[in-house]
Amino acid sequence: MSDTAMTAQPADPELHPKGVVSHQTSTGISNEKLAMWLFLGSDCLLFGALISTYLLLRHRSVTGPGPEDVFDIPFTSVSSFVLLFSSLTMAMAVGAIHRGEERRCRTFLVTTAMLGALFIAGQVYEFTSFVKEGLGYTTNIFGSAFYTLTGFHGVHVSVGIVFLLGLVIMSLRGNLGPERAETVEIFGLYWHFVDIVWILIFTVVYLIP
């Protein structure tokens, strides 16, 4: 949704490697990027509410199992690394497209998507094993709170992956040139946000009992 279309001449990547950020707005920043940041600011409250709900409820279960019984910290650590590095590859993709390297961008987008998928696979594994260990969604209050919090995060990641692959398809069709760099960048913001939410969850939910 870039504004570039409105410029009569196609952006010249040489002159303006960032692609053309709209100069028509009062603040000089593009509507789309501002909108994404507003959305992320709002999402802070969403995850804030979910995390505090989890904190309040995790130790209140009347029946087991509790967090200590099921958590598998080594595995979750790997998941954290995976997501962390997906942020790196995402940033690389954004950098690449800003320089006009479409192919490199595409490569990193695919890599990011694959890492995201690996993360989701880890989550599916984690959930399945928890259920097998006796912690269902309705088993106790910890279960409800845990699955809801991490599930919301997982949904954010999954939606991100679907869009990532959408970007890849666009790129394959030649529609993701440097003039659309901002699209990639805006998507990147979303992806990094999902990563920082996980940074919080990893510490607050998993590492601090």
């Binding site: 409105m6 009569a8 950020v21 100069h23 028509q24 707005t25 009062s26 603040t27 000089g28 920043i29 990027k33 501002l34 940041w37 507003l38 992320l40 600011g41 709002s42 802070c44 409250l45 995850f47 804030g48 509410a49 505090s52 904190l55 309040l56 130790h59 209140r60 279960s61 009347v62 029946t63 509790g66 910290i73 080594p74 650590s77 954290s80 690394f81 962390l84 590095f85 942020s87 790196l88 940033a91 950098g95 800003h98 106790n140 910890f142 960048e185 990147g188 913001l189 990094h192 946000f193 990563d195 920082i196 940074i199 919080l200 990893f202 510490t203 607050v204 590492l207 601090i208 009992p209």
Partner: protein
């Protein structure tokens, strides 16, 4: 629209743009360096798990700074908050700080930090 005749709004878009260009965006190398640093911090974080009988106080004291450092690194570099237009930073920081303040107040009001708060399992 290629010819920009009217300066739009007050902020003088050109200035911002200028500013943005002065603080150059990080390079790929920067990204990799940051990722490695983040990885190391994460390793340290995971390390605390292997410390036996670590008290919660200790964990909070060690893990929170690391968490915040990671958080800021991703926001600042990967999300370009350090370089980009300050409006973004304000919007996001506002949401973040508001969330922290509001929910810490909620937890406090629900006696979460005190001994009264029941801990079942």
């Amino acid at each position: 629209m290629s010819v920009q005749t009217e300066p739009r709004g007050a902020a003088g878009p050109a200035e911002h743009d200028h500013e943005a260009h002065q603080k150059a965006h990080p390079t790929d190398r920067d990204y990799i360096v940051i990722a490695v640093v983040l990885g190391i911090i994460t390793l340290l974080e995971v390390g605390t798990y292997f410390i036996e009988d670590a008290s919660t106080t200790f964990l909070v004291a060690t893990l929170f700074p690391m968490m915040i450092a990671k958080f800021l690194a991703v926001c600042g570099w990967f999300m370009h908050l350090r370089y980009d237009n300050p409006i973004f930073r304000r919007v996001f920081t506002f949401g973040l700080v508001l969330a922290i303040v509001v929910f810490v107040a909620t937890l406090t009001s629900m006696e979460y930090w005190s001994d009264v708060y029941p801990r079942g399992m």
